[in-house]
């Protein structure tokens, strides 16, 4: 363990890393190498752990994050979110200094409110020349349709965040403001939950200020904003599972007790916003949004946006829904404002702001432009808008050629660039591998609107720079994060405002009843894909086993087994093709397991399953994440193991996957609320299982084959639906198709028989809203009833009988195919009735606009 104690000189590895400027402020150590007072207890305790124990704690941190599914997604990278990284050493801030930061942040949030109101109101700041006209008028995020839009009450920004850096002189300075969808509170919460589990006593004894007040205040504020009377119906609007911070959306929605919805879950009717649910439309009063301003309403903002709600802005204007933060607030993220905010503060408040910002130049100003071009190598250059092409560039890291290029870009569109003096960020201790290092750090601090002013989260989200990652320290740059501990002088009472609890309870009554129909649809497909993957796996492992076993089947039934794989998974042509190689089937079989781009393959079903889970993650229990992690890991390693490792027996590898899928099914069975979501998940599973059994029997039992071969096929089918043992127990060694049909089609006590699925399906259908109380059966109920009746009326022994010379059991084939058709029809009818089929909104543009001639 290389943490030094307070008297010794800095240990090697703790200071002087290449990344940190030589004169950077050190958070933990004084220039003479002694430990700052507020770090002494923590570093002393960490010392006591020893390197090995500490590394073990670090691994525990990683495991807990993984179990919680904590990721930060890269756009365009499907499925594989980047793991969220948390350093086990928190950043410490003593409460005296914090008091100063806190009032600075509070003041800044209030100032930004005044600026926002003015820019979308009178524009006095522009008229009086306090802020240059072009800085606002020329900015992409100044949204003219948002003129006059306000949130009820004093505070316009319900949430606000600021990034801060402590410069060499020890003073904290703002480097940027986050105002439209300030992200990071969820990650801060996750960091705190993990840290308090990994270091329970250290956390307790350090008297750390709690975060709960922030979230309770947010809940209170949002509930209070409800414009339509009664308990406010609040939802959280997310762009979807591919958003970078989707993990946080899920975490916050659950923590706050709100439904997580996407734009397509909401609709505007009769001048209100509604959520589409199975029961119909449910009114929404307040939307906590994580969708950028510009995307929120295709009618008035970005015409082709699929992430928003058409007509939303007009509902906001009429005061029937409140969106937090208000649309249009992105204009405050305009970096050029940093330069003019002190003047705005003098204008509105009559004083300079408490917290300074990094000295900023706006290149739209001719003097600033000249200054910037002169001193490029000393400056950090940013664009005034954030977005895909937004980059922070430090002139000091550029070659002469790159500097010239940057200069050109600035000269071409000066209004779009700002430059800031480079503040070498303070360094904080970080645990890497098995030793401590000093790394530059940036603190994001959060504020939420309270009754009269802002409540600042004590602490926040600290990000630290990685070696070689450049000057940008951000989630996007893959930076490591830290929990941030504001140390109280004495233990804090747990203050959870009682009103917050009451509010949530009221909210919960409303929420428990209704789910967006998109969620229900995804649960239904989750059920279907899980079952589809499982039954394919079961058949595949049986086939692998048969092919490699001692009693290899004769060529005829061997081909039937292989074709059953193709038919069950619908991976045509597969073995149905005359030219298919049934003597060397391994490659094709592996493709049916591994080829993600092949619909019907195991990999495709599991990918679809994981996608469906992502859409409904807020309904999954915490334990589910561990199973999903296993599933992802196994799928990632499977190609290598199956293709390149000869010692591996394929069926054993597949066994592991089957077990994981069973665990997933078991967990939902055990931990999911018996609500609509559960019914649809179960119906998806039951319908898919029915279809799979029917396909299997059609491929293996319809064709008439010689007696010995017939028992092989009979056994294979029974084995792959996990009913062989039951069969043997009931019929001993007497292998007979008729008995098999009894067990797999008719037996109501066999959880893997068709009749069992149909009975279960009927029970679920009865629980659905609008399931036809008037005595009239729904289409799906009718189809299932017919399927069940046909089966009951059929004589299995007769269906199984095969006359001499007959090639097919054609009556059996007809029954199986009719049943298959009916169940598929029921699935479609169910979807037609309950799922949302409106498709996305389409803009009336191009050819649809009148040309003025």
């Amino acid at each position: 363990m290389r943490f030094q104690d307070q008297t010794s000189a800095p240990a090697p590895g703790m200071t002087g890393q290449a990344l940190a400027a030589a004169d950077a402020w050190n958070e933990a150590y004084r220039p003479d190498g002694t430990v700052r007072e507020h770090w002494q207890y923590l570093l002393g305790s960490l010392q006591a752990f020893g390197a090995e124990a500490f590394t073990a704690r670090q691994q525990m941190v990683e495991r807990l994050l993984r179990d919680d599914g904590a990721t930060y997604n890269d756009y365009g990278q499907r499925l594989a979110g980047r793991d969220w990284k948390l350093d086990p050493i928190p950043l410490l801030i003593d409460s005296r200094e914090w008091a100063h930061i806190e009032s600075g942040i509070r003041e800044r949030a209030e100032l930004l409110n005044l600026v926002l109101r003015d820019l979308y109101g009178q524009r006095e700041l522009i008229r009086l020349g306090v802020i240059p006209a072009e800085l606002v008028f020329g900015h992409r995020d100044f949204l003219r349709p948002c003129q006059g839009i306000t949130v009820p009450g004093e505070q316009q920004l319900v949430q606000y965040a600021a990034d801060m850096v402590r410069g060499a002189d020890g003073a904290m300075r703002i480097i940027s403001d986050r105002t439209q969808i300030p992200s990071g509170t969820g990650y801060a919460l996750e960091n705190r939950m993990v840290m308090s589990r990994v270091f329970p006593s250290l956390f307790r004894d350090s008297h750390v200020h709690r975060l709960s007040l922030y979230f309770n205040s947010l809940r209170l504020k949002l509930n209070a904003l409800g414009p339509n009377g009664g308990v406010a119906r609040v939802v959280m609007l997310t762009p979807g599972a591919y958003n970078e911070t989707y993990f946080e959306h899920v975490l916050l929605a659950n923590h706050l007790g709100y439904s997580l919805v996407q734009g397509s879950d909401l609709t505007v009717r009769d001048g209100y916003v509604w959520m589409k649910t199975l029961d119909g439309l449910s009114r929404i009063d307040v939307i906590l949004r994580r969708v950028d301003d510009y995307f929120c309403d295709p009618v008035e903002l970005k015409g082709d946006s699929q992430l928003g709600v058409p007509g939303l802005l007009e509902v906001i204007r009429s005061g029937r829904v409140v969106v937090a933060n208000p649309l249009g607030s992105g204009i405050l993220e305009n970096g050029g404002l940093l330069k003019y905010l002190p003047a705005a503060a003098r204008h509105f408040l009559g004083r300079d702001p408490l917290l300074e910002a990094a000295p900023t130049y706006w290149c739209g100003d001719p003097e600033d432009l000249a200054h910037t071009l002169d001193r490029l190598p000393q400056l950090v250059v940013k664009t005034t808008v954030r977005g895909a092409s937004y980059r922070t560039t430090y002139g000091g890291e550029l070659s002469a050629g790159q500097l010239a290029e940057l200069g050109e870009a600035i000269r071409a569109r000066p209004m779009h660039f700002i430059a800031q003096e480079y503040l070498p960020p303070s360094v904080a201790p970080v645990w890497e591998g098995d030793a401590g290092f000093s790394r530059p750090s940036v603190l994001r601090s959060f504020a939420v609107a309270g009754e009269s002013s802002y409540i600042v989260m004590p602490g926040g989200l600290t990000r630290v720079g990685q070696p070689g990652a450049g000057v940008e320290i951000s989630n996007r740059a893959g930076s490591l994060s830290k929990d941030t501990w504001v140390l109280a002088s004495e233990p804090e009472r747990d203050e959870s405002p009682a009103a917050g609890v009451a509010g949530t309870e009221a909210g919960r009554i409303w929420l428990g009843m209704e789910l967006p129909s998109r969620v229900v649809e995804n649960l239904f497909w989750l059920g279907r894909y899980t079952e589809r993957a499982e039954s394919a796996l079961r058949l595949l492992r049986t086939v692998f086993n048969r092919l490699s076993g001692a009693n290899t089947p004769d060529p005829g039934s061997r081909l039937m087994l292989l074709r059953a794989v193709t038919q069950l998974t619908c991976t045509y042509p597969g073995f149905m093709d005359e030219s298919a190689n049934s003597t060397e089937p391994r490659e094709e079989l592996l493709s049916v397991v591994l080829d993600r781009d092949r619909p019907g393959s195991v990999a495709a079903s599991i990918t679809a399953l994981l996608n469906a889970v992502d859409e409904v993650r807020d309904f999954m229990s915490a334990d589910t994440q561990r199973i999903l992690n296993d599933l992802r890991d196994t799928m990632e390693q499977l190609p290598d193991r199956l293709r390149h490792s000869y010692s591996v027996v394929p069926e054993e590898e597949l066994d592991a996957l089957v077990t994981t899928l069973l665990a997933l099914a078991g967990l939902t069975q055990e931990s999911m609320m018996r609500g609509q979501g559960w019914h649809f998940l179960e119906m998806g599973r039951r319908m898919e299982r029915t279809l799979q059994i029917l396909s299997l029997l059609r491929s293996l039992w319809v064709q008439v084959v010689p007696g010995r071969e017939e028992s092989v096929l009979l056994e294979t089918a029974l084995l792959s639906v996990d009913s062989l043992i039951t069969y043997r127990r009931r019929y001993q060694q007497h292998m007979d198709i008729g008995n098999g049909l009894d067990l797999l089609l008719l037996e109501p006590g066999n959880p893997r028989s068709v009749m069992y699925q149909l009975n279960e399906l009927q029970k679920h259908l009865e629980q659905l809203p609008n399931s036809g109380e008037s005595g009239k059966l729904s289409r799906q109920a009718r189809a299932l009833l017919e399927a069940g009746t046909n089966l009951r009326l059929a004589d299995m022994q007769q269906l199984a009988a095969a006359d001499q010379g007959q090639y097919l059991r054609s009556e059996l084939d007809q029954l199986l195919s009719r049943t298959h058709h009916l169940v598929a029809q029921a699935a479609t009818a169910l979807g037609d009735q309950y799922f949302d089929h409106t498709g996305g909104p389409r803009p009336l543009v191009r050819g649809d606009w009148e040309v003025q001639t």
């Binding site: 006209a133 072009e134 349709p145 909104p841 389409r842 003025q852």
Partner: protein, 296 residues
């Protein structure tokens, strides 16, 4: 002069539209030269909600939602407008020079000039650039009267560009208009605006109507008019002055203003989103500008 204007927009869809949310810029605003006495919009089918608003630019907008399934949507705007006498006589040849205009625009002490700077910047459909500046340079000289130069630009666009309704649609980029030297009034207005902005001046887009008269001795045909567009240039000494490059005119008593903005996208007559509608749809527009009283 008093006009009654009837502007009908009819959308027909291949498939049923279950819902539509729209905004219309169809009702004339009041201006220094005109007063809108009455204005109303009728919808078929009837909307579930509809509301009058004033937008950011002070234009009269109408927001509406139709919730009943429909295959045809008809929006009819009827308004009566008084044109209040002639427009001021502009000192086209003797006013402030381009240099003076530029200097006054840069002066941050006058609020009106500061606010006009919004219209010197790029907007969604008009991006200043070298091609536009090159074209504009032929009309602007630093020591000449600014409005005289704008008048010259208007004339050049009128004579050097071909009016061609088949050539353009709403999305035709300005670069194509310049390259092919053809377009319709909307393109010519954008072109002039782009030219002015490329030279550092302020210009905005004006949407409205122009009264057309039938050939002598013939009756005027129903629905034969069209919505029209022109541009307005800002002179710190004379204010906003309207020019019509399509007809090589200064805006006259026959120009009726509906709305203005940075470009067409700010004042689109009808825009919005639909749910459903199938793969194709048709758009028909009929406009009647009817003079109720007054003579030129």
């Amino acid at each position: 002069m008093k006009y009654r204007i009837r502007h009908t927009t009819r959308y027909s869809y291949a498939d049923t539209v279950s819902q539509c949310h729209s905004i219309a810029h169809l009702l004339p605003r009041n201006t220094f030269y005109q007063r809108c006495n009455s204005a109303s919009i009728q919808l078929d089918p009837l909307p579930a909600t509809g509301a009058d608003r004033t937008d950011y630019f002070g234009n009269h907008t109408y927001h509406f939602s139709v919730q009943v399934p429909h295959k045809v949507l008809q929006v009819t705007a009827v308004s009566e407008v008084d044109i209040l006498g002639g427009r001021q006589n502009l000192s086209l040849d003797f006013g402030a020079s381009c240099r003076e205009v530029r200097a006054m625009l840069a002066d941050r002490s006058r609020e009106e000039n500061l606010m006009a700077r919004e219209f010197t910047l790029d907007s969604p459909m008009v991006q200043a650039g070298p091609a536009l500046a090159d074209y504009a340079r032929g009309s602007f000289a630093e020591d000449q009267s600014f409005l005289g130069c704008v008048r010259d630009l208007t004339e050049r666009i009128f004579s050097e560009f071909t009016y061609d309704t088949r050539y353009t649609d709403v999305a035709t980029p300005l670069a194509d208009v310049i390259r092919h030297r053809r377009g319709v009034c909307q393109d010519f207005a954008h072109l002039a605006i782009g030219c002015l902005r490329s030279m550092g001046f302020a210009a905005r887009y004006v949407s409205g109507y122009l009264e057309t008269l039938p050939p002598p001795g013939q009756p005027k045909l129903e629905g034969s008019d069209a919505s029209h567009a022109w541009f307005s240039a800002y002179s710190p000494t004379d204010g906003w002055c309207d020019f019509d490059p399509t007809n090589n005119l200064l805006a006259s008593q026959q120009h009726i203003t509906t709305a203005w903005g940075r470009d067409y996208s700010d004042v689109t007559p009808v825009k919005g989103t639909i749910l459903g509608g199938g793969s194709s749809h048709g758009l028909e527009v009929e406009v009647d500008v009817h003079r109720v009283e007054g003579a030129l």
